[in-house]
């Protein structure tokens, strides 16, 4: 229930902020449609707030327990949320984007494929598995290169390499 209350308040705050920004527009007629949408969204956030207060479920306890375990970084025990894995995945994608602007699409895609399979799958990583993951990355990127660069002749982000 706490989860529902928090999200409804966040949406309400977001709606109020967006509504206020519409006041800055040069011509108020341009704000007519977005204003109606935001008002409805705000009203729905209030409805969600009331609904979560009215529909108190015992299930709420489980959600709280799960959240607190996740917040403490609890791992594999039971149904805890694998926060570390998701954050690692997120950071790898950010690094992929950063490298792509420097090295280009194909080289960065190869590096990202290798890095994500090695880092996210580090638990069972062996020399043999590592080699197979590098080979898979190479084959995958080679297929993309043939398809995009040679057959479809499409633009991809360019960098120092291809």
């Amino acid at each position: 229930m706490i989860k529902e209350l928090i999200i409804s308040l966040v949406i309400l705050a977001g709606s109020i902020t967006l509504y206020c920004t519409l006041g800055w527009l040069e011509d108020p007629r341009a704000a007519t449609f977005p204003r109606i949408i935001i008002l409805i969204m705000g009203a729905l956030a209030v409805a969600l707030f009331i609904q979560s207060l009215l529909m108190k479920r015992k299930k709420g306890k489980a959600v709280l327990q799960q959240t607190s375990v996740a917040a403490k970084g609890g791992s594999a025990a039971g149904a805890s949320f694998p926060f570390g894995m998701v954050v690692t995945c997120f950071l790898l994608i950010i690094a992929y984007f950063a490298v792509m602007q420097w090295l280009g699409f194909y080289v960065s895609a190869f590096l990202y494929f290798c890095a994500s399979t090695m880092i996210l799958g580090r638990k069972d990583l062996t020399v043999r598995k590592g080699a197979s993951r590098v080979m898979s990355a190479l084959i995958f990127v080679a297929i993309l290169y043939i398809l995009f660069k040679i057959i479809l002749v499409v633009q991809t982000p360019k960098g120092l390499f291809i």
Binding site: A30, I38, L48, M85, F113, S116, G121, S136, F140
Partner: protein, 506 residues
């Protein structure tokens, strides 16, 4: 019907046929791969169609749509995980059959029944689409505005557990669609960063909202200790023709599946999972041995698969005539249509008849291709199951970047795609679903454009209230919106009472 037959040969050109076969083959594999939803598969493929002519591009998307729904049954039968929501009913008897060593027979029944149901659905689509499109010709700005709202309300009610959250998602999508310059006055709105100056394009939004949450969800499951109940795949020789004969004798199951699937398909937003489950339930009720269902009864597989494939064709009727998609995948297909400059409604059948009927003809051919490839692939389908999630994460992410960048050769779109996707992933943890947001983004310009046009007319005429809230068609569509939301609220209250009653018993 005459137009359909007139344009049918265009679907048989070398390029179109090749794209159809590749799309069907690829769609079966994508559908069979656990972790890849049909909606995401179609969303990732939309950018590939930029380099094709509109008819060929739509053939690719249509073939993948058809094949992923059928392909999802492979993982449902073999590892008890439906490849798509539409295959939930298939696993009820499909997986028990696989556990009894009848995997191949279950797969054969699945593809033959899919063909029967799929063809039935296509006939319904061909018969009903043009008359409905003609009716849509009479729609003015207020009716078009309400139709857009109806589409969002239906999707909001059926794809989220909570109608309030579904509608918030739809409104959020409408808000995103207003980013950039206003259509009539050219004034920038919600442009908080240069990246947003041109607004949010449909393809980056589609890819971000469907692919990125899936990437994070796959990452979540990497260390999961949940053991998949994988059935041993035992190839059975020489059973194809006996299975076909046995399957075609299941007239009752195939009829119930096809009819229920088609009816459910026409109802916007109802989707394949509803079709499969209702048809399965009806067949069990009419069966002489209802207790055999759930224990590996081949009729269970036949009814579920004929229903979810019969849904495909009719789910495109409201999409092609009224811009109201029948399922989340159809919503992505709507994005594909708009990107090629094709607007659903009478325009599709009058000015773009060649493209539209070629697309419809290709969907009929795709049913046969799906069945043939499916039967051939059955022996090797277990190999698809062994693709590790680790590889899926990397491959989906790389394809998402390519697909987004290729729209306007802009890295800004990639940033927008990833930001929206990450936001959607966080939203999904709070019970929000991507489908209403996507529909809001797609239908937003239609809703705003018609609202502003209608308002301009109304201000000089009868007034806004009378213009938008009176008139037979307006009242009918408003009633449908209210009924759709009301039904969802009723369903939620009923579900809450059931939970409460169970809690009280405990």
């Amino acid at each position: 019907m005459s137009e359909f037959l007139h344009y049918f040969p265009q679907a048989l050109t070398f390029t179109n046929l090749l794209v159809l076969l590749v799309g069907t083959f690829g769609g079966l594999i994508l559908g069979a791969t656990p972790g890849l939803s049909p909606t995401m598969a179609v969303a990732l493929l939309v950018p590939f169609t930029f380099h094709m002519d509109p008819a060929t591009g739509l053939i690719l998307l249509g073939a993948v749509y058809t094949a992923t729904v059928a392909g999802g049954a492979i993982s449902a039968i073999l590892i008890n995980i439906p490849g798509a929501p539409a295959n939930i009913a298939t696993l009820l008897d499909g997986h028990p059959m696989a556990q009894q060593g009848k995997s191949q027979k279950a797969l054969y029944i699945c593809f033959i029944s899919s063909l029967v149901g799929g063809l039935f659905g296509m006939v319904i689509m061909i018969l009903f689409t043009p008359p409905l499109a003609e009716m849509a010709m009479k729609f003015g700005p207020p009716e078009m505005f309400w139709i857009a709202i109806f589409g969002i309300s239906v999707m909001a009610g059926l794809s989220s557990g909570s109608i309030a959250k579904g509608l918030i998602g739809g409104m959020f999508g409408l808000c995103i669609s207003t980013i950039g310059y206003s259509p009539l006055l050219g004034i920038p709105r919600f442009v908080f960063h240069d990246v947003l100056t041109g607004g949010v394009a449909i393809v980056p939004a589609l890819i971000g909202l469907f692919a990125i949450p899936q990437v994070f969800s796959l990452a979540e499951k990497l260390n999961s200790k949940i053991v998949q109940k994988r059935a041993d795949f035992q190839p059975e020789k020489g059973i194809l023709f006996t299975t076909i004969a046995e399957n075609l004798k299941m007239v009752k199951a195939l009829s119930i599946g096809s009819v229920v699937g088609s009816i459910i398909g026409i109802i916007p937003g109802a989707g394949g999972q509803v079709a499969g489950l209702i048809a399965y339930d009806q067949n069990r009720k009419f069966s002489k041995n209802p207790e055999s269902f759930g224990k590996g009864n081949p009729e269970g597989v036949a009814v579920a698969e004929s229903a979810n494939n019969a849904m495909v064709g009719p789910s495109l009727i409201p999409l092609l005539t009224l811009s109201v998609p029948g399922s989340p995948t159809a919503a992505v297909l709507l994005g594909g249509l708009l990107i090629h400059g094709l607007f659903p409604g009478p325009d599709l059948f009058l000015n773009n008849a060649s493209i539209t009927y070629t697309f419809i003809a290709s969907l009929v051919l795709a049913q046969f291709a799906m069945c043939i490839f499916g039967l051939l692939l059955s022996r090797y389908s277990y190999m698809v199951m062994s693709v590790p999630n680790l590889f899926m994460i990397a491959a989906v992410m790389i394809l998402a970047v390519y697909g987004t960048y290729s729209v306007q050769n802009s890295f800004d779109d990639v940033i927008v795609m990833f930001s929206l996707g990450t936001l959607m992933y966080v939203g999904s943890k709070f019970g929000f679903s991507a489908a209403p947001v996507v529909l809001g983004i797609i239908l937003g310009p239609i809703a705003e454009d018609n609202f502003l046009k209608g308002k301009l007319i109304a201000d000089t005429d009868v007034g806004v209230f009378s213009y938008f809230f009176t008139g037979n068609m307006n009242i009918v569509i408003i009633f449908l919106c209210v009924a759709s939301i009301g039904y969802s609220i009723y369903g939620e209250i009923r579900a809450y009472r059931k939970v409460k009653a169970k809690e009280n018993i405990k």
